[in-house]
Subunit: 356 residues, 2 copies
C-alpha cells in the first residue's frame, strides 16, 4: 500500500510511522516547512520526501491531509486534483463541517482522530499514538463505499477505532467534549496565575487536579485559533451553557446552601459515570452480513446510521458480487445487544441482513 501524508507534524508523522511499521506501507510525505520534512525523514516516518503535493500524492492509495483546520480545504482540493480515481483522500481536522461541505467527491472522507499529546512536531510522533483511539469519519452520500472501507481498514491497521458520524453532529459534540475543555483549561490557568501573582507569593506547589485540568491549556495557537473560529457557533452555545451553570453554582455557594451544592456535585458524579463509563465494557464481537446494492452512498448510510445509534463498527469488509450489481458488507460489532441493534437498523434501511 502506498500512502501520502501532507503535513508531517505530530499527527501526520504518527500516521506515517504507524503505516510503515504496522502495514509495511510505502509512505511519501510533503510539508510546507522543509525542516519538518527533513526531520520526518530522519525520524524514519517517511520513505520519501516529496517536493510538492502532487509529487507526494502520485500513485498513492490513500492520502492524509494533516494541516491546521483553516488550510484544509485548499490542501484537500490539491490532493484530490493530484490523486487517482481509486485513491481515498482524508483529513485529520478537529472540526469537520467546512471541509466536508466543500467536497462532494466520492474519494473524500473527512476524518478526525481523538488523539494528541502535550507535544507537537514530528519529533514526538509515535507509531502507537492512535492505539484504541476513536477516529471519527464523516462520510457523505457521495462517498465511495469501496474507498470508505479501505480507509476504515487502514485506520484499524494503525490501531485506531473508526466511528462514523455526520459532520454537524461531530462539530456539536466536539464543541462540548474538546473545544470547551480547552477554553476552560485556558481560563483556569489564567485565573490561577492571576490569583497567585496578586498575592505576591512565589508560585506554590499545585496538586494533580490542577495539572490534569490544565494539561491542554495554551495548546498551540497555530492549530487552535482556527479550531475555535471554525466551530464558533457551536462553541458559543457551549460557553453560554457553561456561564449559566457557573452562575447557578455561584448562587448556591453564596447562599451557603449545602443541599444544593451536594445535589449539584452528585449530579456531576452521575454525569461523569454515564459519559466516561459507557465505552469501557469489554465485549464479544459479532459478525453481521448485509446484502447491499452496489451504488453510491450505501456504505455511508449504514455507517452513519450505526454511528448515530452509538454502535461502533469494530471492523468491516466489502465483497462485491461478480457482476458488480450488488455486494455483501460484513460488519463486526462488539456486544450482542449492539450487534442486534445494528442488524435491526440495517434491516430498517431496507437491506437484508444475517446475524448475529
Amino acid at each position: 500500500m502506498r500512502i501520502a501524508v501532507l503535513g508531517v507534524g505530530l499527527i501526520g508523522g504518527s500516521i506515517a510511522l504507524a503505516a510503515r511499521e504496522r502495514l509495511a506501507a510505502e509512505v511519501a510525505g510533503w510539508d510546507p516547512a522543509k525542516p519538518a520534512l527533513s526531520a520526518a525523514v530522519r525520524r524514519g516516518a517517511l520513505g520519501r520526501a516529496a517536493g510538492s503535493v502532487a509529487a507526494a500524492v502520485a500513485g498513492a492509495d490513500a492520502v492524509f491531509c494533516a494541516a491546521p483546520v483553516a488550510r484544509l480545504p485548499g490542501l484537500v482540493a490539491e490532493a484530490l486534483a493530484a490523486a487517482g480515481p481509486e485513491c481515498v483522500v482524508t483529513d485529520v481536522g478537529s472540526t469537520k463541517r467546512a471541509v466536508v461541505e466543500a467536497f462532494a467527491d466520492p474519494r473524500f472522507v473527512g476524518g478526525h482522530p481523538l488523539a494528541g499529546a502535550e507535544t507537537a512536531g514530528v519529533a514526538h510522533a509515535r507509531a502507537d499514538l492512535f492505539d484504541a483511539a476513536t477516529w471519527y469519519l464523516t462520510p457523505r452520500e457521495a462517498t465511495s463505499g469501496v474507498l470508505y472501507e479501505r480507509l476504515h481498514r487502514l485506520l484499524r491497521g494503525i490501531g485506531a477505532q473508526p466511528a462514523a458520524i455526520d459532520a454537524d453532529t461531530h462539530d456539536r459534540v466536539l464543541a462540548a467534549v474538546s473545544h470547551l475543555p480547552h477554553v476552560l483549561a485556558n481560563v483556569l490557568v489564567a485565573q490561577a496565575a492571576a490569583t497567585l501573582r496578586a498575592g505576591g507569593e512565589r508560585l506554590p506547589a499545585t496538586g494533580p487536579s490542577f495539572r490534569d485540568a490544565t494539561r491542554v491549556a495554551g495548546a498551540p495557537s497555530a492549530i487552535w485559533t482556527d479550531i475555535y473560529l471554525a466551530n464558533r457557533d457551536a462553541l458559543l452555545r457551549e460557553l453560554d451553557g457553561t456561564l449559566e451553570r457557573l452562575q447557578a453554582v455561584r448562587g448556591a455557594l453564596a447562599d451557603g446552601d449545602p443541599e444544593a451544592i451536594t445535589d449539584w456535585n452528585d449530579a456531576a458524579a452521575e454525569d461523569r459515570r454515564t459519559l466516561l463509563e459507557s465505552h469501557l465494557a469489554g465485549e464479544d464481537v459479532f459478525q453481521l452480513r448485509a446484502s447491499v446494492p452496489n451504488q453510491p452512498g450505501v456504505v455511508a448510510r449504514i455507517a452513519l446510521e450505526l454511528g448515530r445509534a452509538g454502535v461502533n463498527i469494530a471492523d468491516m469488509a466489502l465483497s462485491p458480487a461478480p457482476d458488480m450489481s450488488e455486494g455483501v458488507i460484513a460488519l463486526w460489532i462488539a456486544g450482542r445487544g449492539s450487534a442486534e441493534r445494528a442488524a435491526a437498523l440495517i434491516g430498517g434501511l431496507g437491506f437484508p441482513v444475517a446475524g448475529p
Copy 2:
C-alpha cells in the same frame, strides 16, 4: 514511633500503610465507621483498631486527624484532649483557616497533603500515595518547634515534601488551584452531558482532553460539600474572576477576532509554563545552619518566611543546646539560589546563619 490515625479512608489509610512499611511505626487507628476500621486492619494498615479516639491516641507520638473538613475541629479537640504533652497532632483537611484558628495549642500543626486519587476508602490506600507530593503545613507562632520538626521528619519519611504556608494563603491558593478546578470539572461534565442528551445521540467517544479535564468531577460530596463551604469566600472570588474571563473570551469569539483569540491562548500557554514548570528542576541540595533561641514560634516563623518566598525545605533538623537556652536548626534547601535566599531571609529575621 507510635502513630494514631483517626479516620481510615484513602488518606488516613495511606498514611498508616506508609508509616508501617517505611518507618516501622506502630499504628493504631480509629474510625466512626466500624466496617472501615475492620477493613483497615485486614488491609494491613493498622496494627491496632481502637474503640475510641482516646484509646487510639494513648501513648502516640503523632496523631493524624483524617476526617471531612467540617468534622475536623471536633476531632482535633478530642485528639488534643487525649494526647500527651510531647505528642504532635495534625490534620489533613483541604481547607485550613477554620481548624487552625480554633487551636493555639503548641502541639497542633495544620496540614494538607496534595494527594488523592479517583478513588476513596481504605481499599484503595497505598503506601506510595504521598511520594514526592507537596504536604502543606500551617504552623502558628504557638506551634512547638520540636514537634513541628518531628512532624516534618515523619512526613519526609513517608515520602512527602512538606512546605510551610500560613492558613490564609493556603486557602486562597487552594481555591485557585484545587477548588476552582473541581467546580469547573463539575460544570464541564454537566454541560457536555446536557449537550449530548439534547442531541438524542448515544454518548460518543470522548478524547483524552475531556477525560483529564473531568477526572475530579463529582468528587465525593461527603468530603467536597464541606470543602466548598469552608472556603466559600475565597472560592467565590475565583468564580467571579472565572466568569469575567469566560465572558471576555466569549466576546472575542463572537467577534470572530483571531488576534484576540491567539493572544489569549498564547497567554494561557505562558501562564501554564510558569505555573507548572517552576517546580520541575532537579537541583542540588544545600545545607544552612541557623542559631535560634529556644522559644515558641521560632521554627514556625522560619518555616513560614521561607514558605512565603517559595523556598522549599527539603529536610530539617533541630539540635537544642544542652542548657536549652538556644539551639541550631539545620535546613536543607534545593538549589543554590533558593538556599542563598533562605539564608538572607533567616538573617533578616535576626538569626545568625551559616551556609550555603
